[in-house]
């Protein structure tokens, strides 16, 4: 299976911004933050299609997300994920003495995951947070 090493960027999107105003537990919000925007050439390279699922892995965590074709291409080997619980699973908590975790520019690996599904929020919280 093809794998791709990329720079991971996180940030705001207008959909994530409006989505959160529908409520952080809403479907709109969850859909808006569990995607990863990729350059069409990278999507081709991975042999996936838009709206299929991929597994994104960093040193800190791994999670399934839905692929979306980026309208901002070209940005080869750079992948954009909106802020939210999905991005946070992948984020680097180290702050290098500044207090600020690294939320942009971390290295990630992407591979196709056509048979795995994107978790919903409840499942994500259950899997990635230890219950008390």
């Amino acid at each position: 299976m093809p794998k791709l090493k990329v720079y991971l960027l996180t940030g705001r999107t207008i959909d994530q911004g409006t989505g959160k105003e529908y409520g952080k537990l809403s479907e709109e919000y969850q859909k808006s933050v569990s995607i990863c925007q990729m350059d069409p050439e990278d999507i081709k390279f991975l042999k996936v299609r838009e709206n299929e699922n991929v597994k994104v892995t960093t040193e800190f965590g791994s999670i399934i997300m839905k692929v979306v074709k980026s309208k901002r291409a070209p940005h080869p080997e750079v992948v954009f994920v909106p802020y939210g619980p999905w991005a946070s699973v992948l984020a680097n908590p180290k702050t290098h003495g500044t207090g600020m975790p690294s939320l942009k520019g971390e290295m990630a690996e992407i591979e196709p995951a056509p048979t795995e599904k994107v978790l919903n929020l409840q499942e994500l919280l259950r899997t990635h947070f230890r219950r008390k």
Binding site: Y22, K24, L25, P74, H75, G84, T95, F129, R131, K132
Partner: protein, 457 residues
């Protein structure tokens, strides 16, 4: 408004409109307490009592959030943190914290947004995408706004747009007819367009990918990821008339940089807006150091200003209130009885990562969604009190949930705009009975905490 429900919103941006129309959809109105692993409804009194207990009994609690509530509430929050000897921190710690650290080293040449509307003829957005994150920024304050001394560049943009669209359509038509591609994608060309040299407002966007904001700019400078520091320092050198030994910096040819520097020096009043593209990528505060220094150096040649693009409607207010009451803008530790500030040590992500805190209060914020998972896990492991109008990933992991009224919709308050201008937020509808303002909830918790501590003594 109809029957205490908002039905229409005028003059707001997309995010604002969504906020006003939909705030009622996922809000919570009942106080909750976790009993036997499940969150169950309870009375407000019990929730406040339990919340106060958690804070009063903790050795090293963290009080986090604050950027989505009013200054009036934040003032009580600082008093509460001081009372319990905990750490109080706001969302700057994962956002523009590095910018603040840089400002504390270098200073900052800045202004209020109206100054730009009236006078700015060169506008940079660096690592920031206002079209998506601050939708009305460009037409209210910068490129497409009307000022006393500068006209809007909207018409110029429209004619450029029709020109580009016409060219694209023509190109596609030719391609269809000839059966092959005539026009190669011009995206990565560096040539500076003539509009940059005209006597009107101009906008340049610097980013790693062509965002929506980049599309409407006069010029888009695509920079390689994690190379902002090099590019900023290169510009600084060129401003000081020094020679660069290399052919390109951050993937951009030096001749282009020289032309850009000429435009910067030749402008009447320039502004550099920067976003999390700078604070979050490699170098963090060093990137901001370079940007602040660049603008400071430019002031010897022309008038130039710089401003961070803040998220959260009152993160600036949180910084402002913290600073006047404690001397410091975020990451304040009261455990010694007086304010201590040392980001990296007293900042919440570090404290959580090291597992040092033993309780948490989160106000109007969602760290479970936004903190790196490793840190958020430790937050959830310990007793957690959440005050929020909405149900969020953080509130559903909490031990005590106290619903509050929405600031700016159901309760009035003061907030600070990104340029530090204080604004009154109005009350438009009545909150549900069980939802008090953050300020009131915090005051009640404070009273209860004091009572518990005096009993203890």
């Amino acid at each position: 408004m109809k029957n205490n429900i908002i039905v229409k919103v005028k003059n707001a941006c997309a995010v604002g409109e969504a906020k006003f129309l939909n705030y009622a959809l996922h809000r919570q109105t009942k106080p909750l307490i976790r009993k036997n692993g499940e969150l169950v409804e309870t009375s407000l009194e019990e929730a406040i009592q339990r919340g106060a207990e958690i804070l009063a009994n903790a050795q090293y609690p963290i009080l986090y959030g604050w950027s989505n509530t009013s200054c009036e509430a934040i003032r009580v929050g600082v008093e509460l943190a001081e009372e319990v000897g905990g750490v109080i921190d706001n969302t700057s710690t994962v956002c523009h914290g590095p910018s603040i650290l840089s400002i504390q080293d270098i200073g900052i040449s800045s202004c209020t947004l109206g100054q730009l509307r009236h006078r700015a003829d060169l506008i940079f957005y660096w690592g920031s995408n206002p079209w998506s994150a601050h939708p009305r920024h460009i037409d209210r304050y910068t490129t497409f706004s009307e000022g006393r001394f500068q006209r809007s560049a909207w018409r110029g943009y429209l004619s450029r747009l029709t020109g580009t669209l016409a060219r694209k359509r023509l190109g596609r038509a030719i391609d269809l007819v000839l059966g092959r591609q005539i026009l190669s994608p011009p995206e990565t060309e560096f040539r500076l367009p003539p509009t940059l040299f005209q006597n009107k407002r101009k906008m340049i966007v610097v980013d790693v990918r062509k965002t929506r904001s980049a599309e409407i700019a006069d010029y888009f400078l695509q920079i390689q990821p994690n190379k902002d520091y090099e590019l900023l320092q290169a510009l600084r050198l060129l401003i000081r008339d020094e020679e660069l030994d290399v052919d390109e910096v951050a993937g951009i040819p030096v001749e282009i940089l020289e032309e850009i520097v000429d435009i910067m020096i030749g402008c009447k009043l320039g502004i550099l807006f920067f976003g999390l593209g700078l604070t979050m990528s490699q170098g963090k505060l060093r990137n901001i150091d370079a940007a602040l220094s660049l603008v400071r150096d430019l002031n010897q040649r022309t008038k130039f200003l710089i401003m961070p693009m803040r998220g959260h409607f009152n993160v600036t207010g949180a910084n402002v209130v913290f600073t006047w009451q404690t001397g410091y803008p975020y990451a304040i530790d009261f455990s010694h009885g007086y304010p201590r500030y040392n980001p990296g040590e007293t900042s919440v992500t570090d404290i959580l990562r090291r597992g040092e805190s033993d309780a948490g209060l989160v106000v109007a914020s969602d760290p479970v969604a936004h903190f790196p998972n490793a840190a958020a896990q430790n937050l959830v492991k310990n007793p957690l009190v959440v005050i929020d109008p909405q149900a969020t990933p953080t509130s559903i992991m909490a031990d005590v949930v106290i619903p509050s009224a929405f600031v700016g919709i159901e309760v009035e308050g003061t907030a600070y705009r990104m340029d530090h201008v204080p604004l009154p937020l109005k009350k438009v509808v009545e909150p549900p009975e069980t939802c008090l303002s953050d300020k009131e909830i915090l005051q009640r918790i404070l009273v209860e905490v004091r009572r518990l501590r005096s009993e203890h003594n």
